[in-house]
Symmetry: C2
Subunit: 354 residues, 2 copies
DNA sequence: ACCACCGATGATAGCGCTAACATCGCTTAA
DNA sequence: TTAAGCGATGTTAGCGCTATCATCGGTGGT
């Protein structure tokens, strides 16, 4: 009986006013697929046709629907990025690096911050994969097992950043936080310091902080430095917390010679506290930081610190992803150790001349 | 002749391995639409069915495809955000505010930075609208005409931030940059300063900077302050540029009494340069900043500055958007002036006691 | 006994785009 | 002359989901 039914009423869910590819096609006197090609693969369309299409696009103010395009093609030109927090400028630099490289390639960033929680990270991975990004970039190399599982099955390029590990999920761009912290303590030792305090970032759910602490401890053991309770403590990166940690270490160990802070903001906070107390840097106490942010260089006295490739981590991750997406078969090395550099400035006394 | 064709071979474009809603439906013994409802409107499904579905989702590791969902429903739970640069922490705070509010509501942020270029902003608006976001948030209140046109036609909530204007495109959250700068100069005047320099951020394509400069100029005129060429200049926000601007103003006008910097980073750079030259603050020169970032409070001497609602701008914008999306008919005021506050600290001399 | 009503579930038809294949006119080699 | 080859364009059929309407038992009022 179905062939006897009258024509169904036209039913549509379309948004009023939204210009679709079909409208452009009609205006240009071509088919929808030709419009699609003119926009996405201009070389595959005759020049004259291309101009017609572009004119129609302009005239109608057509903005392609990338949801539909992504669904049809399974390519979204979208990259998901998880960082611990955006309020730490080191991650802002990394994002800038990614933004510069991806922006030039017409990719969009979807950003989420985990608040230094691996549980939240795993939740975000699920939410982000739901957007079917072309790739995903994580901060750190430790993850909940469910996060790793989802990433493994998702079949998209994954880049872990900011640290090293033997067997990354997929690709990796970073440097050795453990070696970097060790190198700074070795440097301070070389400069004659023997009682060196350490202010760590909270190590829970943070492999970078944990590795820096481990590097410090290994150096303390190796160089036979003072190793007393309370010489190492933990503080979340703010100037105020750096100042507080400085006070605590100094009150527990008045004879401390230098304090190595796990980041420059803490170090600057410590140095400002020293100034408030009328202590001279480095005459009365040495201060070392980590990250080499802008402030470290401009600070008075300029901070001895560890320079890390913040921007380059982002830019390199982006380049690795683009290379992989352009040619999935490429066997470019999926791991980049970008290194670090101990920078001696005025906040610690110099190495003895030979 | 078509009815004589043999059955076509099965042709599919599906990604291998991707779990679809249909797979979950089969595993749970229900239809696809019921799975959709169990995930998106759990109340509309019987409890027993819901449990079945959730179990199947878990077992299969199903991650919904939001491209498809968004295409079908025209709701993406995605918000596009344009900022000038992510490396300025004031915008990081705003993003954190948005991230906190939107994260709790299960919305994702798509972030893009314009590099303080309105042309680039317009390009980004097009690229971002192509993702069909649920809303879009801009920084500043001046835009290229084509950007405004696209936004007007897009039919999504638009929030302009960080400044005020009489007729926003749609919604607006900010404060008066002109009034804030005026208020700081008025404050300095009240404290006895008469020769006040000003270091502006580059005003090109930046209405916030332009308005701060205008506020300074209006105050200079109104209070009959020194108004000499070279007393106001422009510098991009870095510590080094703040130091350079300090040097230039001081060499052109050795008798300058105070310098008002359009942001705290510049101010700190200026203050550090003063210290390098052995000048005392505020005895030899007053330093005022803008933004009240962390550094301003912890700096020695602590910086007199203008506190602006950085985090709250983001959080409020997010709340306004969610309110609008929940109820498009709501007539909640689409404009929020969040104000500012002049904060007197140690880097300028105090007001005379009455 | 009847029916309007309601909660739960399902069948169907798109959403706007692009992959895959088909077609068409023209050139070039045999 | 003819067929193979190629560039440009078109037709068709999804991509994976949800809006819409249909269906189907039970409930309760009359």
């Amino acid at each position: 009986m179905s062939e006897l039914l009258p024509p169904q009423p036209v039913r549509t869910r379309r948004q009023h006013g939204a210009v679709r590819i079909e409208d452009v096609a009609r205006a240009a006197g071509v088919s929808a697929i030709t419009v699609s090609r003119a926009l996405n693969k201009p070389d595959s369309v005759a020049e004259e046709t291309r101009k017609l299409v572009w004119a129609a696009v302009d005239e109608l103010g057509y903005i392609p629907n990338r949801l539909a395009g992504g669904l049809a093609s399974s390519r979204t030109r979208t990259v998901a990025v998880v960082i611990p927090t955006i309020t730490n400028s080191i991650f802002a630099d990394k994002i800038q690096g990614m933004s510069d490289v991806f922006g030039a390639a017409d990719y969009q960033l979807i950003l989420a911050n985990s608040g230094y929680s691996l549980g939240r990270e795993a939740d975000l991975v699920a939410a982000l994969l739901a957007q079917r990004p072309s790739a995903i970039v994580l901060t750190g190399v430790t993850h909940e097992e469910r996060a790793a599982r989802m990433l493994g099955r998702a079949g998209v390029p994954v880049v872990e950043t900011w640290n090293l590990r033997p067997s990354p999920i997929d690709m990796l761009v970073g440097f050795s936080n453990a070696e970097a912290a060790f190198a700074m303590v070795a440097h301070l030792h070389h400069c004659g310091y023997r009682r060196i305090g350490f202010v760590s970032a909270p190590v829970a759910d943070n492999d970078r902080a944990a590795d820096r602490l481990a590097g410090y401890r290994r150096a303390v053991a190796e160089f036979d430095l003072a190793d007393r309770p309370g010489l190492a403590r933990e503080a979340h990166f703010t100037l105020a917390n750096g100042a507080a940690a400085f006070r605590e270490i100094l009150s527990a160990h008045p004879d401390v010679e230098a304090i190595f802070f796990a980041n420059d903001v803490l170090a600057a906070g410590g140095a400002l506290e020293a100034r408030r107390r009328g202590m001279r840097i480095p005459a009365d106490i040495g201060i070392a930081g980590f990250d080499d942010v802008d402030l470290a260089q401009e600070f008075v006295p300029a901070l001895t610190t560890v320079r890390i490739p913040r921007y380059e981590i982002g830019a390199t991750a982006a380049r690795m992803i683009l290379a992989r997406l352009d040619d999935p078969e490429t066997d470019a090395p999926p791991v980049a150790d970008l290194g670090f550099e101990v920078v001696q400035r005025q906040s610690t006394r110099p190495a003895p001349s030979p």
